[in-house]
């Protein structure tokens, strides 16, 4: 079994078509990207006992004792804020596992890492199904949050570094394709989950506001999703291949890439990368870009209603606000592919100047003229979210440019701790400002301005960090690794 999963086993034979690798990577990312769609479960899970309405918890112990009671209680429904911890755990464990196991992923290859990721991701669903059945929140947190989060981290980085090695001529396009899948995962998960819940619970009607599926349907839903995503991930895992040492695409001359500013032909190890200034500057860049994007994503639905409130009533209906969230999801997904591919043409540093500098302009416009027209508001926020998605998709290619291909997956894993940190900081910042103003969904545009201008400052910090990024000094370069593995072989493929 171990041999079947080893890196050596999946070295591509001569003539292998490299365009088989992007759909394999997409299959994995479409599956784990489902994490973004977990909010579809919050409402039915918050009424798992009461069904028609949440059963509130009676007054009980407080403090640490109260926390442990919350973990094991079975008599009342979970609050949405309690369930929301799964989301935080997702992103904390995504970053942590990617950072901790990145070097192992690099050594063992994408198949081994992909299989472990698929088992973790599926186990998360199955443990959560048990959690719903027994009504134990700790099982939900452990299953989906912790174990599923580890699956997310491993599944996220493993195909990305492989794609970079297959597409040295177009790394932005290749990683954009895969990471677009992560954005697309939520687009699939939400409607699929609703349809499955309706299938398992005939009394549930997705189109009827307030209608929720019962606990039994949720158990079956989690089991079904676990099995389904396992199959899709395994399809990707068993189709992924790594290029043979020395392989390069037909007609590709590494010298053309190396001639670009900031692109190295040397290699830096993961251990050395974290000793460089450029790594931490890029960490700040990613942190700032993600934090600013979360500022919009976190409050998208109430935000558009609050921006167009006249005399206490919003001109944007709840249904239209949910449509706005859908539009943002499309911008998020498209930005990952379009902007990352563009970075192959204009370079990674200029692309991040567009993300961060453009974000400063767009956030300022949202804060100052965002109330002028709904279409303008949608366009401005859509572009902000496309830059947010683009930032994720372009960063692996930026790392390849700075540190080479040697351990780019492991370095990517370490950099993703910036995502975890932003996943905690972003909501804290935006909610901190909005909580001081009132309840989102009952505010006006003015209440959002302090938060929006804070995002402008955060983006400005990221912009400066990006400007300061320089090539990695030679003392960090590996001496025992071929300087440019792409250039030494004579084999080629399509």
């Amino acid at each position: 079994m171990a041999a079947l999963l080893s890196r050596e086993r999946i070295v591509a034979k001569p003539g292998f078509n490299r365009w088989l690798v992007p759909p394999a990577a997409l299959a994995i990312h479409l599956s784990i990207g489902m994490a973004y769609g977990f909010s579809v479960f919050w409402l039915p899970l918050s009424k798992a006992i009461g069904i028609t309405k949440s059963v509130p918890c009676p007054d009980g112990p407080t403090g640490l004792q109260g926390f442990f009671h919350l973990l094991v209680q079975t008599e009342c429904d979970w609050k949405i804020s309690t369930l929301g911890w799964m989301f935080t755990l997702f992103f904390v464990f995504l970053g942590s596992s990617a950072a901790l196991f990145g070097a192992w992923v690099e050594r063992g290859g994408p198949r081994r890492a992909g299989v472990v990721a698929a088992f973790c991701w599926t186990s998360g669903f199955l443990i959560s199904a048990l959690g719903v059945h027994l009504h134990q929140i700790w099982l939900m947190w452990l299953g989906s949050g912790v174990i599923g989060g580890i699956g997310l981290g491993l599944g996220y980085i493993s195909p990305v570094s492989t794609l970079i090695k297959w597409f040295p001529d177009r790394p932005g396009l290749a990683t954009g394709l895969a990471i677009m899948g992560f954005g697309g995962g939520a687009l699939i998960a939400s409607p699929l989950s609703r349809q499955l819940m309706a299938f398992y619970d005939p009394d549930y009607h997705p189109s009827v506001s307030g209608s929720v599926a019962d606990g039994h349907a949720l158990v079956l839903l989690f089991v079904t999703l676990g099995v389904l995503y396992f199959a899709i991930m395994m399809f990707g895992v068993f189709n992924v291949r790594v290029p043979a040492p020395g392989w390069r695409p037909e007609g590709f001359d590494p010298a053309t890439v190396a001639a670009k500013p900031l692109v190295t032909t040397a290699n830096v190890s993961a251990a050395n990368s974290v000793r460089t200034r450029s790594f931490w500057l890029l960490w700040i860049v990613l942190f700032c870009n993600v934090t600013a994007g979360i500022g919009i994503l976190e409050q998208a639905s109430p935000m558009i209603q609050d921006f167009f409130r006249e005399g206490g009533t919003s001109t944007v209906t709840v249904a239209a606000a949910s449509g706005f969230v859908g539009v943002l999801s499309l911008f998020n997904m498209a930005g990952r592919f379009v902007w990352s591919s563009t970075s192959d043409l204009i370079g990674r540093k200029p692309m991040y100047m567009v993300y961060l500098g453009g974000g400063i302009v767009l956030y300022t416009l949202v804060a100052t003229v965002g109330t002028a027209a709904t279409a303008l508001f949608v366009l401005l926020t859509g572009l902000i979210i496309s830059f947010y998605g683009g930032g994720f998709a372009t960063v692996p290619a930026y790392l390849r440019d700075l540190f080479g291909t040697f351990q780019v997956g492991a370095i990517h894993g370490r950099l993703l701790t910036a995502w975890s940190a932003a996943g905690v900081a972003g909501p804290l910042i935006i909610n901190g400002f909005l909580d001081a103003e009132g309840k989102p969904g009952t505010l006006t545009a003015a209440a959002y301005r302090p938060a929006l201008f804070t995002m402008v400052v955060i983006l400005a910090i990221g912009f400066i960090a990006n400007v300061m990024i320089r090539p990695v000094p030679e003392r960090y370069h590996e001496t025992s690794v071929p300087e440019e593995p792409l250039a030494v072989g004579d084999r080629s493929g399509s």
């Binding site: 292998f16 365009w19 088989l20 997409l26 687009l187 449509g323 859908g326 539009v327």
Partner: protein, 44 residues
Amino acid sequence: MSDQQAQAPAHQTLRLIVSWTLVAVLLGYGVIQTLVTAAKLFTG
């Protein structure tokens, strides 16, 4: 090596079609469903 290369194209073309079709169907389903939801922004 030449045998492998000679056999590869037809086999790989089928794999390419199956692989890209699978991800296109999954992604297409998500995009269409989201467009239906997104339409409410203009009609809702």
